[in-house]
Symmetry: C2
Amino acid sequence: MVTRYLSVMPLDDALALLSHEFPCTPSAVQVPLEEAVGRITTGPVFARYSVPEIHLAAMDGIAVRSRDTRGASEQHPVILPDAARVNTGNVVPPEYDAVIMIEDVWEAGGSYTIRKAAAPWQHVRPAGEDLAESEMVMPSRHRIRAHELGALATYGITRPEVIVVRVGLVPTGSELVAAGTRPAPGQVVESNTVMAKAMLEEAGATCTRYPFVEDKPEKIRDAIALACRENEMVIVSAGSSAGTKDYTAGVIAELGEVLVHGVAIKPGKPVIIGRIGNKPVIGLPGYPLSALTVLREIVLPFLKNYGLYIPEPELIRAYVTSTIAKEIGSNEFVLCTLGRVGSRWVISPQSKGAGVQMSGVRANAYIRVPQTSEGFEAGGLVEARLMVPAAEAAKALLITGSHDPVIDYLADFIRPQGISLLSTHVGSVGGILALKKDECHAAPTHLLAEDGSYNTAYLKKFMPETEVELLCIAERQQGIVSRDGLSFQDLAGRQFINRQRGSGTRMLLDYELKKAGIDTATIPGYEREVTTHIAVALAVKSGEADAGMCVHSAAKALGLLFVPVATERYELAFRKEHADDPRLVALIDAIRSPAFREILTRLGGYETAETRRQRPGQ
Amino acid sequence: MVTRYLSVMPLDDALALLSHEFPCTPSAVQVPLEEAVGRITTGPVFARYSVPEIHLAAMDGIAVRSRDTRGASEQHPVILPDAARVNTGNVVPPEYDAVIMIEDVWEAGGSYTIRKAAAPWQHVRPAGEDLAESEMVMPSRHRIRAHELGALATYGITRPEVIVVRVGLVPTGSELVAAGTRPAPGQVVESNTVMAKAMLEEAGATCTRYPFVEDKPEKIRDAIALACRENEMVIVSAGSSAGTKDYTAGVIAELGEVLVHGVAIKPGKPVIIGRIGNKPVIGLPGYPLSALTVLREIVLPFLKNYGLYIPEPELIRAYVTSTIAKEIGSNEFVLCTLGRVGSRWVISPQSKGAGVQMSGVRANAYIRVPQTSEGFEAGGLVEARLMVPAAEAAKALLITGSHDPVIDYLADFIRPQGISLLSTHVGSVGGILALKKDECHAAPTHLLAEDGSYNTAYLKKFMPETEVELLCIAERQQGIVSRDGLSFQDLAGRQFINRQRGSGTRMLLDYELKKAGIDTATIPGYEREVTTHIAVALAVKSGEADAGMCVHSAAKALGLLFVPVATERYELAFRKEHADDPRLVALIDAIRSPAFREILTRLGGYETAETRRQRPGQ
């Protein structure tokens, strides 16, 4: 058995070790004001001079001697013998001790009449009112807010000294290509240090991405050594695992020492924590979501020790829609979609594949399953950690069921109203079950009953007690996707790629084959199942299969041929009680909009009122 | 009577008018990935190619044909005739359909032994698992988060198209000098457009600050016209009031039209909303806090119409410590300090002077007193709008009472522990009253009783039922500040500047004068009161007064002479029940620290154990 990790350390121990082993002394840099927002002061900041340095008018009006105004009233107006017109901010000449607002002054022929006495020092900003020379404006470790730049400018501070933590990011791997280059088979776009730079700079660090380094120990060694000289901290992307080309740990050991290889977190286990010349060196796992987790759970908390401001995620207690099982001993982090259905917050785990970066884009929250936990039961309360402001999560529209690309377009339509449509792909039956448990706002579904009707039979079966409404999103063509134009009749003997049992597409295919009297045993690969339309099309495109059944848009997206088999009703099911929810109203409006009908026509493979009109005999 | 505003419009009407009168069409710009964080997409973003485009190993291990592994178990290990070593991310050669993790493989002599069968497609990342070519990555109006840059890079998007709203900032005023220049009397550091740029850019706008424009209508006209040509929106700083040099409204009327002059908000009333060539032009009031309020309450909400993301402040219900009175009809915004005392959130209004930029630095929250309200009673519940994260506000340490510069140093000492010390300056008695109402964590106080004792008599009087602890912060010298070294005995006939009745300094002065038999009637200006040590010193420095009484540090800060009169006990009073509060513990530790004693010595004017030791006879 190949040994994979030197040790697997609990997360808390790894964080404690980092804090304990490294001095975490930040450097200081003076930055111009316009770059100071969000930066942290290294030491106290003092006013360079008093503000104001001399008495100023606090209002537009006239500067007066208050004793000259005594006795003035509506009944007994006073004409002032001596006064000076001042605007807000003007110096109050030393002979005066009060300002009267211009609204309270009647001017005629160069003299001023007033109808109210002025109190001494009224509407005068006394010298030093704001701050005196050498007084403290802000303490050490203060995070400078945008509006405070005005105050800093006023107090004479133009280059505040702030904390700088320089982090060198070293991407390694012979398979790497730069963003913008289409990767050849076996190549990968380098994205981990792109993400790391953005996340760490958002947290206030200053990152340098070094050039890509091939998988050669001596080159990796030189790159890490250089990064260690130029930074307070170094992150090496990938090569942290136990593949045949994972040299990171070896190189760190050669240049310094490996303190930890393997932390009990998932995703992210193969992380390395090392030390070279008293500087921390982190070996980041290659999978993007593993890298994300290590950055968020290890690197960002560690950066706090340098004085950077790392906000804790907002927490919301939410009902989890599916069971999360895990073994005791590691912390597990699950990306999720979170939203408010009726009066409850509900949270649904996203796909767990660590390579699936889209789950990081779709997620608006995550769950941490603690080390000592065996997971969470579906329906239980968990603590959601937010990745968007709570106000934004509160406007999420949760769509659970069968996915179709048009859902993404509907999401795009309603997004300008501030509504994030978050979809969870669990197939039609999964969607109806979620609707039954009131765990989503609506479920897209296309379930064919034996009588040829759509959806209603299933809703009656699963949700007999609940009033559910159905709105047709589109009449959708399902058909045979192939490289060479195969039709339904040509399937026998061809390598097939199928959808999973329970999916609407599979039901439709089984139904049509039965109707046509075709035996599935004649179709090789009929038992091989994937879970999305696009996975079917990709299997065909890659040559792995000759044919499959999917929607037109999936075939078109990959430039494959498509021969329609049947038209089905792709409908949106939702509880009547939620029909007035503004998020659902926006979605329904979008489905009914002419712009959406245009999208359907453009994408192809959907029947609309218009296409039906154009077809004779319908 | 001089007419000041064309109209005074309610805030909501002004916001509705802005939304209604302007199309608010943002422009689009393609930005490199590293500048994309926080930007808002203009349209949907699609994947340039499928990810992955071909089946990849999801684990380090060996690629196998799953059928070759059938029957493998602990009892019946299988030696694989054919397999290929793969690392995570490697292409799975087309002849294989599964990957076995390296931990589950026993390698010897170039062949692999396994003890568990592999399911077809296990540990394989199928082509398109993440996303297929042309699928939507993110919809329109999506705010790009830091971690999503990795996904964008992976999907081939290197220059996302995002919303740009260009805002031209035109600072006007002959009195303006640039930050970094010490203003001469009557000059002002231009800070409003510095603040506006930071606030609006934080909200996603792109700002250009134009050069300062003198108070000459033709120059202002040229500057505004230029800014209108180059931006979607223009903000003119100052000149919006009714002073003799307020030309902004006139110039806007000449180039276009003034829609609103005066909005019913406080501070910020003299705002102008105009239109030039269908572009909005906002005239910002000159006072920094008025400008801040107009930016936050009018400009930022308006920018939402362009699709920018403007977060709402977090809200916390808190008990307000003092009455906020206002007239019905305008919205009033009050900067405050907010913190948690015991189990309650309490909020204290800061100084209301619109020119006092420090109140914007000290504040961590603000209160909006709505148009229809007459204000809030002290002790009532109000809605605090947060200016820092709630977690940071929860760690605020509220210090209310008599201020001394050493409090700022204590704030600096404890800030690295994440504690923000927020002080409210209300004098010693005010502090004890706040302590009595349990509205602060501690009160610095120096109240002299007739028997010459400090603080205890007052605590007994005001809080007879409560256990209060006293810790001496410093034994502090109070003395006569002057330009020419006047002493207590020299006051008769000299122009004096006094502290307000009820302040500890005033009590001490009255006590010492009485003891010395000096009649206050012999001291001109004895009735003229200011409320801080530094205000006393500034009055002396400016020549307005010859002498006053203050602490040594205030005299020293302004380079004035100081003759001690008496030493007083400047103590920290706090409720015993809060003595274990970690914030208070940190403060107490700081007061007792040798580093703080060093600060006292350096500042001068404080007695410490050390200085006392050095004085013979004590």
